[in-house]
């Protein structure tokens, strides 16, 4: 127990606490002007809107923890979403579970592709995932022949799946909550998570203590891919449409959520709580923009500004006062 308390006061914990307060202040500020923003219905809607971002950002966090980055998540999501939609169109009677499993399985494979290239060939993650991003997008076009799968071509239960409610929250929200809870617990309590942090924090030291950093990278990309696949199925059934360009550029929002949530791009630093807060922060901004009368076209600009502020602050924090020469 005392270790847990200490961990609560670690650097990451302090940051999460401060950022949590900031997020609450933002929420409070919006509520002060628009009291309706705090209504249970609106908060549930906010959670529902942010759920997919939360799942993807948690997966992305693992990749960034091991000094990588996955730019292909949105393309992976779109490809798996299309697969699920095509499957549902071809076999409407098969139910939801096979479509979900198909999407998650395909996503796992696509993520493992990234992971293998990074692990076995030691290719730079940014180049690998930039490449697979455009390959995956192209494959969607080939699969769908450039056509859309529309709402009327999807089975009713497929469409109903993320929308079902339990205790006032949607299935989609519950999935995000469960995944987030799993991450919080697993990252603090399991050995593989400890290895993951070690591999990202100092790969050489990790190697000396018997941790294969490459394997950890592979694992991170694979989990990230699996989550992207699952999210693809959910995205398609929630928005009731699948086409080549769904979630185009969404990877940037996912990475933004991680960076805002305190995940260090240099690897080894970050917490699930911080990432979830980062997503909620983005979600609050996104859903309050229309209330303030700002066009949704500003969302991307605001994300960019928030990313830059977050990374500038974390770069400042790392700076050592006694550094004579930057280790560049």
């Amino acid at each position: 127990m005392s270790a847990g308390v200490l961990r609560g006061f670690s650097d990451t914990g302090r940051r999460d606490l401060a950022f949590g307060v900031l997020t609450l202040l933002l929420f409070g500020a919006v509520v002060a002007v628009f009291p309706g923003f705090a209504s249970p219905r609106n908060v549930a809607g906010l959670l529902d809107d942010t759920s997919i971002l939360v799942m993807l950002a948690l997966g992305q966090m693992l990749v960034i923890l091991v000094r990588g980055v996955d730019l292909s998540v949105a393309a992976n999501l779109a490809l798996c979403g299309m697969l699920a939609a095509l499957f549902n169109r071809a076999y409407p009677g098969a139910g939801v579970l096979p479509a979900v499993l198909l999407a998650a399985g395909a996503g796992t494979l696509l993520g493992a592709c990234n992971g293998l290239l990074v692990w076995k060939l030691r290719l730079p993650p940014i180049v690998v995932t930039l490449g697979t991003m455009s390959v995956y997008r192209g494959v969607i076009y080939l699969l769908s022949r450039g056509e859309w799968v529309n709402e009327n071509e999807m089975s009713r239960e497929f469409l109903a799946f993320p929308r079902g409610t339990f205790l006032g929250l949607t299935t989609l929200s519950w999935l995000a909550i469960v995944i987030a809870a799993l991450f919080v617990v697993a990252l603090r309590r399991t050995r593989v998570a400890r290895d993951l942090y070690a591999a990202g924090g100092n790969p050489e030291a990790a190697a000396y203590s018997g941790i294969d950093a490459g394997r950890m990278q592979f694992l991170a990309y694979t989990i990230c891919g699996a989550i992207a696949g699952l999210a693809g199925c959910l995205w398609v059934s929630r928005f009731a449409v699948a086409y080549t360009d769904i979630a185009l550029g969404f990877e940037l929002q996912v990475i933004a959520a991680c960076l805002i949530g305190g995940v260090a791009i240099a690897g080894g630093v970050g917490s699930a709580v911080g990432v979830v807060l980062g997503c909620v922060f983005i979600g609050i901004i996104r859903s309050s923009l229309p209330l303030v009368g700002i066009s949704p076209f500003w969302q991307m600009f605001i994300n960019g500004a928030v990313i830059l502020v977050a990374v500038l602050l974390s770069a400042r924090r790392r700076e050592h006062p006694r550094t004579v020469l930057e280790s560049a």
Partner: protein, 312 residues
């Protein structure tokens, strides 16, 4: 990479180029005409113009993912100015100036803010592209004066377009700078070992800043050419170009880890790349399918040296 290996990589690119010409001319009877080849150059000159400074940046161990977003920002700035009645020279100046300013912001983030260039330019990519969307929304700007079309559509002499001439001139300039000057050698040194370079008295951060600024300036130039060629600005202009431009540089034999590469390679890669996309276009293959090719090529080109070095 020693000169012999460098030569081999470039010889391979030249061979691929010849192969491409043979294949495409046998597939399409229209391929091997001066007019077709002249048209084909429009496919890559704008991108290749950015690949030149980006090659220097990558050799110096940095990267800029915001290049396409800078094009969008500069194009929007020009479009707004054109709406206010600014003339052609003014528009070109605004395009170049916007690019330079955006590049300087990247440079400042990396050198003053000490943010790794990947993160900094992911941030500015979102910021710049976001600014283009924020300003334009779903509108289109197309109040360009007729004379503005010269840059992207005009010809210098015969089949030689202004874009092509610019590319040739700047290829030579960048080649001479990188391979024949002290400053060019410093760029290699910074990429190979920034700390040692700093100890050797190279003003590492000044080089980095200038390289980012110059990359931005060339994005501005590309924005002038592209906007002039299309005659309109949408916030989605040049979407996905960063992938193609980075692919060109890597295909040209520039190491993603920095310290290695040559301008000859990048120029050859630009030609190879331009001809492939043009040839596939001739065969009516849609752009999104070409992106499979581009992405696979990018991974393949970095994977081949990795596979070869594992053998030994």
């Amino acid at each position: 990479m020693n000169p012999a290996r460098l030569l081999r990589w470039e010889a391979m690119l030249a061979l691929v180029l010849v192969l491409e010409i043979v294949v495409f001319s046998s597939l399409s009877p229209y391929f091997l005409s001066v007019d077709t080849l002249s048209d084909a150059t429009f496919n890559f000159t704008e991108r290749a113009l950015i690949a030149l400074p980006l090659a220097l940046l990558i050799i110096a161990g940095e990267i800029d993912i915001s290049v396409a977003a800078i094009i969008a920002l500069a194009s929007v700035a020009m479009g707004l100015a054109a709406g206010q009645g600014v003339g052609t020279p003014g528009l070109a100046a605004i395009g170049l100036g916007t690019g330079l300013a955006a590049g300087a912001i990247n440079g400042a983030l990396v050198t003053v803010g000490r943010v790794p260039s990947i993160v900094a330019t992911i941030g500015t990519m979102t910021l710049f592209r976001g600014a283009a969307y924020a300003v334009l929304g779903d509108r289109v700007l197309k109040d360009y004066p007729p004379s503005f079309a010269t840059f992207g559509q005009g010809y210098l002499a015969g089949p030689v377009s202004i874009e092509l001439a610019l590319f040739v001139v700047f290829s030579l300039a960048f080649g001479l700078f990188l391979h024949r000057t002290r400053w060019g050698r410093a760029v290699y040194a910074i990429g190979a070992n920034p700390v040692a370079s700093r100890f050797a008295g190279v003003a590492v951060d000044r080089y980095r800043f200038v390289l980012f600024a110059v990359t931005g300036l060339f994005c501005g130039l590309a924005a002038v050419l592209l906007t002039s060629r299309l005659g309109s600005t949408r916030p989605s202009i040049a979407q996905g170009w960063e992938l193609e431009i980075i692919s060109m540089v890597i295909l040209g034999g520039v190491s993603v880890w920095g310290g290695k590469g040559s301008i000859v390679g990048v120029v050859l890669a630009a030609l190879v790349f331009g001809l492939v996309t043009f040839g596939l276009g001739l065969m009516n293959i849609p752009g999104i399918v070409m992106s499979i090719f581009t992405g696979a090529l990018l991974i393949l080109v970095v994977a081949i040296p990795a596979l070869l070095s594992r053998r030994r």
